[in-house]
Amino acid sequence: MAAPALVLFGFFAIIPLFGVVALSFVDWDGLGPITWAGLDNWKAAASDPVSRNALWLTVKLTFLCVLFQAPVSLLLGVFLAGRQRYRALLATLFFLPLLFSSAAVAITFTALLDPNFGAGSALDAAWLSQNWLGDPELALYVVVFVIGWCFIPFHTLIYQAGTRQIPKELYEAARMDGAGPVAQFFRITLPMLKYTIVTSTTLMTVGSLTYFDLIFVLTGGGPGNATRVLPLDMYLTGFRSYDMGKASVLALVLVVVGLAVSLGLNRITGASRMDSRSEG
């Protein structure tokens, strides 16, 4: 009975995971014969300034994404956890970006950020009329913002659910002790959301590492290589430059970095879980 799931999952997910290791040691253009290449792809990837830059951009993008998304979704989630009617309405509307495909979002923002016909000209604000996607200094920050637009709603949901599980009695007790809303937030809400914060941050980090579709449609990696992050570099190397071997190396780097980050963050959770136990 488990066979169909095992066969499908094994064939298209487990085999490719080993396949990508094998392909990193061969030369293949995607169509022609496959020939043994030894460590050539690894050497080529390690010495390629574009790929190195892609790795650095990925780290930077991930850092900026977490920096932007984590506080905003934490605050929005905590706020939406309140039971007021209009907050429920807000929560319904906040969900909307999750319904759009990355391609749709990227296309929308390309038009909206157009320096001549976009929002800048509507609001007559000079600073909004910058060449957002054409300026290598700005493009990465625009990408961070647009990714935030897509994913903050999701993390807000997680924080909303997490906050609703905090026992009301804790707040009651704090109020009796004379703690104001700010003190309550820092002494109760924030510590109680510890696991939620770790879960959400892990998902944000791993998500940012593998982010492809949106950047591909929004900037295609440009201007120049200003937003050519690792997944994009992998795609362009494999399916545009027809160097599948080197692209497989990049794919493996992605997997390893992703796993390392998840395990690292999980270890932090494990450690803090023990802390909270010993504190009683």
């Binding site: 009975m1 488990a2 169909p4 799931a5 499908l8 999952f9 064939f11 298209f12 997910a13 487990i14 490719p16 995971l17 396949g19 392909l23 905003v72 929005l76 905590v78 706020f79 939406l80 907050r87 319904t92 906040f94 969900f95 909307l96 970006p97 999750l98 759009f100 495909s101 990355s102 391609a103 749709a104 296309i107 929308t108 038009a111 909206l112 016909f117 976009g118 929002a119 000209s121 509507a122 903050i152 949901l157 997680i158 599980q165 009301k168 707040y171 809303p181 696991y195 879960t199 593998t210 579709d213 449609v217 992998m234 795609y235 399916f239 599948m244 497989s248 794919a251 997997v255 992703g258």
Partner: protein, 278 residues
């Protein structure tokens, strides 16, 4: 138990201001998509981009529909429906095995699946492409369906397994006493009881497959196998300066998901937050 009266009744002004600002950030692009899709192409360059179009028209939608949009839409429907149906069926069967069997095998199937959640599609895409080419499926809808099923299985299996574990043991036992086969138990007992869990994870997976971009980009090529997200991208290249048409295509692409959200909001929300503790 008057728990509700203890909820914070003081207004949180700072939070409210932040929330309304974020609402503006969320709504502005969506509003922009909508008004622009109604704007005549000629007015796009002259009117204020955020104003209501003076000569609102559905012409942009007509241009999109004349360019095979319905074919792409139909392709997306087939891929999503088949991928979700098969992944639900396969995962439910596997979840039943995991929950019922006491064997080493049953437990480890589950562990491998948990690992699978961590595999990013990007990392597997080159070998998947190789396999699809070798199978002679390149540029077919099956090329999109098969890997989509495979990558939907881990999370689906996880959610269904957790759900089945909650069902009381006695239900299975009494059916078994009556001499029912495993298949009969699956069809008559497990399937009807799992309906809420299937709906939750099904709506979530449908959203994932419907909006998926990388598989279509790498595994298909011709217009006859194009699905919606890829069609948006190619419209952007094809229509270029006809922004109202491109955004009309965006509106059409999101309508089914919007309908799903309106009908099954609770399932979609809980599906999205499912895999992560409680």
């Amino acid at each position: 138990m008057a728990k509700n009266t203890t909820t914070d009744s003081r207004p949180n002004i700072l939070g409210a201001v932040g929330a309304w600002i974020w609402l503006a950030i969320i709504i502005l692009p969506i509003y922009y998509i909508f008004v622009t899709s109604l704007r005549p192409q000629a007015d796009y360059y002259s009117e204020n981009p955020l104003s209501w179009p003076a000569n609102a028209t559905l012409d942009a939608y007509v241009r999109v529909l004349e360019n095979d949009f319905l074919l792409f839409f139909f392709n997306s429907v087939i891929v999503t429906a088949v991928a979700v149906a098969v992944s639900l069926a396969a995962s439910l069967m596997a979840a039943y095995v995991v929950v019922r069997s006491r064997s080493w095998f049953g437990r480890n199937v589950f562990r491998v699946a948990l690992l699978g959640i961590a595999i990013p599609i990007q990392a597997a895409i080159i070998p998947v492409y190789y396999l699809i080419v070798q199978l002679g499926l390149y540029d077919t809808l099956a090329a999109l369906i098969l890997p989509s099923i495979a990558f939907a299985i881990p999370l689906t299996l996880l959610i269904l397994t957790n759900f089945l574990r909650e069902l009381p043991e006695s239900l299975f036992e009494s059916m078994r006493m009556d001499g029912a086969s495993e298949w009969k138990i699956l069809l008559r007992l497990v399937l009807p009881l799992s309906r809420p869990a299937l709906a939750t994870v099904g709506v979530y997976q449908a959203l994932q497959v419907w909006n998926g971009f990388l598989f279509p980009l790498v595994l298909t090529q011709s217009a006859s196998t194009r699905v919606i997200p890829l069609s948006l991208w190619s419209f952007q290249g094809q229509f270029g300066i006809d922004v109202p048409a491109v955004l009309a295509a965006v509106v059409l692409s999101v309508l089914p998901m919007l309908a799903a959200y309106i009908i099954a909001r609770r399932q979609l929300v809980s599906g999205l937050t499912a895999g992560f503790g409680k």
